[in-house]
Amino acid sequence: MKNIAESALNVRGQTQYIDDLPEPAGCLQAAVRLSDSAHGRIIAIKTDKALALDPSVQVITGKDVPGVNQIGFNKPDEPLLPEHEWEYWGQPVALVLAKNRETARAAAKLVEIEGEELPVVTDPREAARNSDFILPSRTIQCGDTEEAFKHCAYVIEGRVESGGQEHVYLETQGAMAEVREGGKVFVISSTQGPSGVQRAIAQSLGLPMNMVEVEARRLGGAFGGKEDQAATWASLAALGAWISKKPVKLYLNRHEDMRATGKRHPYSSDFKIGAAQDGTILAFEADYYQNSGSTCDLSPAILARTVLHATGAYKIPNVRVTGYMCKTNLPSFTAFRGFGAPQAFFVIESAIDALSQASGIPVVEIQKKNLYREGDSTYFGMEMERVRAHEAFDRLLEKTQWHSLQAEISDFNHKSRTVKKGAAIIPVCFGISFTKLPMNQAGALVHVYVDGSVLVSTGAIEMGQQVSRKIATVVSETLGVPLENIRVERTTTLTVANTVPTAASTGSDLNGMAARIACLEIKKRLAGKAGELLGASPEVVRFENGMIFKNDEKTELSWKDLIVKANEARIDLSAHGFYATPDLFYDMKAERGKPFAYHVYGAAAVVATVDTMRGTYDLESVSIVHDIGHSLDISVDRGQIEGALAQGLGWSLLEDLRFGTDGKPMSDTLSTYKVPDISFMPRTMDIEFLPEIENPATPFNSKAVGEPPLQYGIAGYFAILNALRAANPAGKTFYSIPLTPEKAAGFLDGAEV
């Protein structure tokens, strides 16, 4: 079942991303003047030097924004271009247009920002001490932790740090905008959320949304980075087009993109874990200091996912977790695959590691003992159904022959002098749905043309997750029409309105369901006509592989003939489908409810080696047992798991996002910020899928796959930590991501890290 059309364009180099599209006649190129310190008050923005560079140069500042100079929708704290204050190093302060990109960039450099420096805060704990929060904190509580700690055989406290992560979507952010006849604004944006972009443009230009059309084609990667944050660049391009009355393209280069855009939130957290003598976890407390950066952006939704994944894959009876959104003078941290959950998983797994160190009970034993079971309810009161935590974990233990593997490793470590080995497991239980409840909806528009070909438009943006392929599969199976007759179109706000961003792993769940609903509607109409033609009741009519069946017998009537006849009979061959995930509810006051449609389960084991001479490491193998439900496309799902694993390993070990204490970005190029390359990845990646299972919330019992496997990377951290311990049993344990070679060598040398 291979629909290679899309990928065939890719391999031939024919796919057009923003910068590959032909430019409309007279198109101007835009560049941004980014701030070059982290916090300051604007006194004046001087443009004369820039304007003198070339007659084509125009400079646009916040004062020129015709509508509301504000694109923050969760909290109005994000002017499109600041008029009073800049709040991070790399913030766009002015937009520059010119005849070509070189001139625009050169002119942007000449724009002078005259201002007064203001104090800079980069550390979330410092912001917390100053009570500088984006929004009030959020606490979820269950049972009585204080009381429970009193009865624990072990109570351990600790601190956990996790760094930010740059998306490094290979295609940087960009947009092309044009004002068409009647003042209608048309924008092509590299975004995961065209409707959000449309809203931001409309608001900043002072237009109703029906005057703004946003189109998103294929993105060269996004991973959350183009969810909220594409709006800035699209709105700036639109602003430029509006003011200059010429088409405008704004395409960031890598350096600008790495400076100006948000990344995964760094967290600094404290935990306290308590357990009985046998390793049963009785109580868990955590305080998460989320480094939110300079604006609200998606921070509250991300923090929600953190506090809703605080106990990882484990049932813990007494819980108190609090999350703080700390405002700092760094780029506004934003969505990144995993969306606040990886940070929470790292804290609970660190707590378990610390518990194991203190109690001597092996980590895997503690993990296994405390996994969620069928019928458990979470600390926020959600009853867990079709729980597969044990199934995945046990299968992984069996598959890796965990106990003999442990023996082999200790044998190896005994014999080997300069190479030490370590292994670790992480179980994952990941809730699927947007944590912001109203976002769990999707629309789709399906047309069947008279030749029988089918066109599907949804809100799902294609960005490498191959969601088009999955939706095509859903449509093909629903209509009983071969895949080659189906085409999934790019998303535009004209065809499907008010879409939610393609995010939270829900792209194919929500949009697939909406497309399926539209197809079922068309099919119902067609079944009536087919019944009439075949002299049968519509109930016994079935569609399969382009042919119509009656009472399970193939008839002479083909899909194509039926469509012609239906069209002649003036039957509507188009339908709009709408889906809203049922049964979700959440009481924000009580912090109780069912925020997720279902959970995805899985477990991963990583084996790694440490070179004790150089303090470097290699990932040897990864084994994964993953719950995919019924896979809509195995090769797509495998690609998602491997890709998420790479990003998880990168975040855990390699990707070292740095800022100076003055807020200066220190890792803003691909030479200073390293992401996994082919040889960084383990030589063996063995992925096994759990048997199929019922999952009513999705098309054909499939399961979302984008984010859950990212947490598998965390096992890489613990595998290496264990190998380091084998090399230096006296090393001082730390829980700090990423575990760079520098930290590894520090552990070996007994240094503070």
């Binding site: 290679i4 391999v11 290979l170 294929r218 990667g221 191959q466 390699l654 030479s671 960084f680």
Partner: protein, 501 residues
Amino acid sequence: MNAKTNQGIMVNGQWRVPALSFGSPLLDFIRKEVGLTGTKEGCREGDCGACAVLMGEKLSDGTIRYRAIPSCISALGDFEGKHLITIEGLTADSKEGLTPVMRAFLDENASQCGFCTPGFIIALTAWLAEPRTLDIAGAITAVDGNLCRCTGYGSIRRAAEKLCRDFADLPLDPKKRLAALVEREVLPKSVLAFLDGVGSMQNSPATAGIKPAESAVLIAGGTDYYVRNPYPTQQFSPVLLRTLGHLSEIREIQDQFGHHVSIGSAVTIHDFFTSKLVQQAVPGIETYETQFASTLIRNIATIGGNIANASPVGDVTAMLMGLGALLCIGVPEDSSKQEARVVPIEKFFLGYKKIDLQPQEAILAVRLSLDNAPAHPLLFSFEKIAKRKKLDIAAVNTAISFKIENGHFTSVRISAGGVAPTPILLEKTAQLLEGKLCNRCDAKGLAELAQQVSAAAESEVKPISDVRGSADYRKRMTGRLVLAHFARLFAKDGITEELFP
């Protein structure tokens, strides 16, 4: 390009004379001028591989070879008379519009968002074209300069494995191999046209011998220059070292009377490591090639550029310093053939990014001694530490070389990078080792000596902190890496057991 140009570049099937100035990055020519947008810009700093294209060229021995290069940091003028194949050009003659490499990517679903895909396909096509036996390790090295953020590389590896199997029988003769690849639609027929036509072509391009403006910037591979200056203007008019065709000394590796090997400063990193002469001078040096940058970069970056760039962590510079290389410095355009001055490499660096070079002067060649008698062979080791093992700039690097004569360490040289404003020699540390007894039967004694040398190295350096590592880390790593030299060079003598009991 400019008036100096006569012949142009063969882009896919067609010769073209560029309108853009010859100092423009090649990528801009491909995307903006020719309008081929399959070649992507992912970083403009050589670190992602999305801009890779195939370059065909004729070598001085007459063979034609195709290699993948990063177009974002290459000077357009360097491609005069060469054949460029972009992703679009690969399928020019394919019936299905797909090459076998593309087909393998489709079969393994190795293209997700697709932005990186053209670069990977170019890199793997170049790998197939290289006249070597195929194996997966080779394929992985071929794409060590290509980033993919979507796939996690599993599917790309599987596609490469498939290619290993399907193309196991490719001929090893360069010409036959290219013909076979054209036959099997991996490469377009324009390769044959280039093979035939290029023979009559003048080898030294027209830019040769023209005296540039005094202030002109010198560019060799461009891999440092364009990273610092990614947007040159159309007025930018550099001297392209490689096009100074009349100066074979600059471009070739030559045996000088069996006394030393002279390595032209414009020799690429790849050609340096794979040169038989260099390997003869420094046994085992080829094993360190893949620690330097990536295949793409090694294909264009030069030896002279690495030295003249004066980065404190230049890898080849650290090696050459550890080897006691001599630099021949002169004015490349000077036809009076004035004698070049010869400067020991460690004397060349005067301060942070300050070098002993007069205006108009350039490094012409690098000399390594060939005095490498079997009785007392040269022992050499190089170590580098970085966040990522491949394609990353070192936090610290070091090289050591010495001989064992009459059971004693002699001619000891130890270099270190990333620990001072310039690459340095650890002279005190070397002195400590010089003349010491080297009893290969006494592992314990060797280990003790290694520990002493390592501690001396650690205390001899005074690094600073930056994004690649803290001062303390760099100091400790200097010691660790020096120890690693010993562990490598005396592994057979049981030193590891003594060092790590």
